[in-house]
Symmetry: D2
Subunit: 306 residues, 4 copies
Amino acid sequence: MDYQALVEEAFSAAETYRGRGTVASYIPALARVNPSKLGVAIALADGTTHCAGDAKEPFSIQSISKVFTLGLALGHVKAALWNHVGREPSGSPFNSIVQLEAEKGKPRNPLINAGAIVVCDQLMGRRPADEVVDEILGFMRRQSSEDVAIDGEVAESESKAGTLNRSLAYFLAAFGNVQNPVEEVLSVYFRQCAIAMSCCQLARAGLYLAFDGKDPVTGAEVVIPSRARRINALMMTCGHYDNSGEFAFSIGLPGKSGVGGGILTIVPGIGTIVVWSPGLNAAGTSLAGAVALERIVERTGWSVFR
Amino acid sequence: MDYQALVEEAFSAAETYRGRGTVASYIPALARVNPSKLGVAIALADGTTHCAGDAKEPFSIQSISKVFTLGLALGHVKAALWNHVGREPSGSPFNSIVQLEAEKGKPRNPLINAGAIVVCDQLMGRRPADEVVDEILGFMRRQSSEDVAIDGEVAESESKAGTLNRSLAYFLAAFGNVQNPVEEVLSVYFRQCAIAMSCCQLARAGLYLAFDGKDPVTGAEVVIPSRARRINALMMTCGHYDNSGEFAFSIGLPGKSGVGGGILTIVPGIGTIVVWSPGLNAAGTSLAGAVALERIVERTGWSVFR
Amino acid sequence: MDYQALVEEAFSAAETYRGRGTVASYIPALARVNPSKLGVAIALADGTTHCAGDAKEPFSIQSISKVFTLGLALGHVKAALWNHVGREPSGSPFNSIVQLEAEKGKPRNPLINAGAIVVCDQLMGRRPADEVVDEILGFMRRQSSEDVAIDGEVAESESKAGTLNRSLAYFLAAFGNVQNPVEEVLSVYFRQCAIAMSCCQLARAGLYLAFDGKDPVTGAEVVIPSRARRINALMMTCGHYDNSGEFAFSIGLPGKSGVGGGILTIVPGIGTIVVWSPGLNAAGTSLAGAVALERIVERTGWSVFR
Amino acid sequence: MDYQALVEEAFSAAETYRGRGTVASYIPALARVNPSKLGVAIALADGTTHCAGDAKEPFSIQSISKVFTLGLALGHVKAALWNHVGREPSGSPFNSIVQLEAEKGKPRNPLINAGAIVVCDQLMGRRPADEVVDEILGFMRRQSSEDVAIDGEVAESESKAGTLNRSLAYFLAAFGNVQNPVEEVLSVYFRQCAIAMSCCQLARAGLYLAFDGKDPVTGAEVVIPSRARRINALMMTCGHYDNSGEFAFSIGLPGKSGVGGGILTIVPGIGTIVVWSPGLNAAGTSLAGAVALERIVERTGWSVFR
C-alpha cells in the first residue's frame, strides 16, 4: 500500500470540510488558531510516518494527553487506580457533573475530564506538580523521539478560564477522591492539556498502543500487553464522550479526540493515524478530521471488527 | 490449537463458580432453571463447534436475540432505522426509562430493551406479528442449521410479567416512536426473547458476524460487510448495558449477554464463543460464563485490541 | 366588599389575554374547545357564588379532580396512603417518569399524574372501577349541590390517547405499586379527569377546603380538619407541577390547575376562587385564568402569607 | 393564651428526643456542639419573647441566614434577582449540583446553597466582601435589637471544609452566573452561615416577616409587603430542601431550617417560633426541634391552611 498517497487522498477528501464546525473558543489561545488547518499522519511499525497538510505543525493536544497519563498512572499505582475511577462509558458530555453526584465522586472513566483529574492526582502520589509534569513531558519526548513542549499561554489561560474543571475538581475533593491540594492537581491537569505536538509526533508517540504495549521501533515495552489492550478498550468505549458509540460505529478503531481538533486513532498490529483540524462537531470531535479518517478506513478496510 | 481442550479447560475453570450469582426470577420459567448449568462452545470458520458441559442443552437466549433482529431490521429499513434509535452506550441499566424522557422517546441504542422494541416495530413494517416471528425463527434455523423453537411458556410469562417492558413500549408510543399497535410489537419482542437455543447452535448461528457478514461455511453473505462491523461495534460499546465498558476492558471482544445466562462473543476473523450459566452478576451478565470466557481469551490472546 | 364587582373586574382584566397560550390538543375533545372562553367565580362561606363570563359553562376539570379523590382515598385508607405516594414537590413536569425510576415506583406526590393513578388504585381497594367512579361522581354532586357528569367523549379519547399515562401506570405496576389490574385503574383515572363542571359548581364544591374540612353551608364535616389543612399544603407545594413555586410566589394561595384550563384556589377562612380559560402557559396553567386570579388577590390582599 | 407555658410544654414534649438524630460533623466547630441542647422561643407582635430551655444560647444559624440576605438582595437589585435564580422547589438535597447543569447555572431557588451563593453575589454588587458582611450583620443587629456576631472559627472551618460549596460556586461561575471573584463571594457566604444567634434573638429578628414586612414593635417597614409574602412563599415551598413538602404538610407554616439545628418559623399575623436542637433528621432538619414545633402548632392550631 502506498501510504503517502493514502494520507494525501485523505487530506484531499477532507479539504472541503476545513473551516466547518466550531473552533473551541473558551480560551483566546485556542480561539485564534487558523480554522482551516488540516493535518493527516500515519505511523507504521517500522517507525516511518507519512504526513500530509499541516501534519508537522504543533497543535494543542488537549484531551489526547489523557491516554498517555492514564498509562503512566497505571504504571505507578496499578489496579488500585480503579478504586478511584470507573471503566464505563458515561453517555454524557465530557464535562458533565451529573453522574459524579449520583456515583459519589467516582468518575465513570479516565477519559472524561473528572476522570482525568483523578488520574493526575493518582499519578502525583505525593510529588509536587512540577515533577509530575516533567515526567509526562519526558514520556512524550521519549515516545515521539522529538522535543515536546507545553504551550505556556494555553496552560495559563486554561487555568484562568477553567472554572468548570475547577468545579469538577472541588466536587471530587468533596467526596474525598482527590488526595493532593486541588489547585496542585489542576496545575498538572491544565499543563498536560496544553502540550503542543504535531500529527506526526503524536502518531509516532502512540505507536506502542498498536503493538501490545511494545514500541515496535525500539523494542522497549512501554506498558505491559494487557494494559495496552485495556487502554485501547477504554478509547473504544469512552474516547469521544457521548460520541463514542458513533465513532466505534463509523470508524471501528480505538481513538481519542481533543478539543484542539486532534484525533489519535490506533490500528492494532498496523500503526496509528492522527488527524487534526480545529473545527469541531457538536460532540467536540474534529469535523474535517473525521472525514479524513473515514476515507482512510474505507480505503484500507482497517477495523477491529472484521 | 486444541480447541476441544480449550473449551474443556474453560469449563473446568468456571466450574467452581456454577450456582453463584443470581438466577433471573421475574418469571417462573426462568427462575426454575437449574443454577448449576454451565456450557461452553466455540465455533470456527469451517463450521466445526467444540462443546463442553451443557453446551448442547437449549436455554432462553433472551437479549442475545437483539443482535439478530437488529441485522434483520437493518436489512428491511436500512439506515432509516437510525432515525428511531441511537448508537451510543446508555451508561444505564437495560431497562432504564430515564434517558428516554430526556431524549424524547429515541432509545440510546438497539441493544437496550427500549431500543430492541423499536427494532421489532421497524422490522414489522406493517406486517402481522406472527409473520415477523416466523421470519426471525426462520433466520435462526438457517444460521444454526438446526431446528430452533420458541419456549411458549417463557413467551407467555414474559408477556404477563412484562409490566416494565410494557411501560417502555407505551412510553415510546407516547413519543410516536412505535408505528404498530403496542401489544402487537410486544408480542414479537416477548417471543424473540423466548427463543431457546443451545450454546453450540448459537455459536454456529453467529458465525457470520466474525467473518464480515459472510457465513464462512456456506459462503452466503448474511449481512453486508459494513453492517457486520457495525453490529460488532454496537455489541462492543452497548452489548452489556452499564457493564459494557467492563466487558470491553476485561474480555476485549464484541459480545451480547442475555438474562437467561448466555453470552455470545465474536472473535473477528476466527469464530465465535458462547457460554451459558444462569447465575448473573449485578449487571445481569453470567458470572460463571464470564469466568469461562476470561480463561479462553487468556489462553488464546484473542482480543480486537492487539 | 362587592364580590360581584370583583369577579367582573377580574374578568375584564383578563379579557385581553383570552385566546393566548396553548389549548391542550392531545385529544380532539379538548382541542376544539373555544379558546376565548373565560370564567371567574368566587364562592363564600354562606354558599353564595359570584360569577362572571363563562363561569356557568361546564368544562373538563381534568387534574383538579385529583384534589377531591385524594380526600376520598384518605378517607378510605387513611395514612396508609403515604406508603404508596410521597408528599414532596417533584420539581418536574406533570407526567415525568424520571423520579419514579430513582424512587422505585413511589410517586413524589398525589397531584402529579403518577401519584393520582396510585390514589385511584388505593381508593378502589378491591372494588370494580364503575363503583369507584360512582363514588367520585356522587361526592362531586353532593358538594356542588348540582348534577355533575362525566364527558364520555373526553373519557374515551383520554383512554385512547393516554399512552403516556398508560406507560406511567405500567411502570408503577412494575414496582408493585398498583394492586388492581392496570387497565381498571386507568379506567377510573381517565373518567375522573373527564368530569365536566362549571366554575360556579367547582367553587361551591371546594368550599369545605377553605373551612378546615367543614362545609360552611351544611355544617357537615367533609374531611377532618387536619386532612383539609394537609390537602391545602399539598396544593400549595405541588398543585401546579414545576410551576408550583411560582404560583405560591405570585398568588400566595393553595391551588390546583387542570389542563382543561381551570384553576381551583382556596382562600382559607374566606372561600374559594375558580377561574377557567383554555389557553395554557408553558407549565400547563391557564394564562388568562392566572391574570384574573392575580387581580383578585391584588384587590383583596388575600394571601396565606400575611 | 399562656405563651410561656406553651414554650415550656413544647420543650418538655421534645426533651426525650434531645440527642437523637445526627449532629452536622463536616466541620469540628459544629461537630462538638452538645447534642442535647434544646431551645424554644416564641416572639409576638408586641416584641415580647417567650423562651424555654437553651433559647438564650447562641448557635450557628447557618442556612437560616439565607432568608435575611434574600430580603437584603431584593432591596438592592429588586426583581432583577430572578434573572439569576428561580423560585421553584428543587425536589433535591440542599447541595445538589444536578439541576444546575440541566438548567445552565441558574439555581432553582434562593434557599438552596447554589441559590444563596448567587444571592450573595447579587447583594455584593461590586462592593468588597467585608462591606457586605457588615451590612448583613448590621441588619441582624437592628432586627434583633441585640449584638450579633460571626463565629470566626466556624467561618474559617466552613471555608476550609467547603469543597462542595466551592464546587457549586465555580460551577455557577462557569455559566457566568457569578459576577464577583468566586472566593470573594464564598467569603460572604461562609460568614453569613457562621452568624451566631440565640432562639430568642432570631425569633425577634424575623418578626417583620409575620407582619407583612413591617416590624410590629418599631413600626418600620423592613421590606415591602409583597416582598414579605413572597419570602414566606419561598420558605413554604423551598425552605427545607427535599423535606419542604413534608414540613408544609405537617407544620403548615413557612419555615427555614439550618444545619446547625435551628428552625425559624413564621406565623403570619401572630409572630414567630424558633426552635434549636443540633440532632438532624435525614433531610437535615432538627429532629427534637420539629417535635417541639409540632406540639406548638397542635396546641395553638396555627396553620396558614385553615
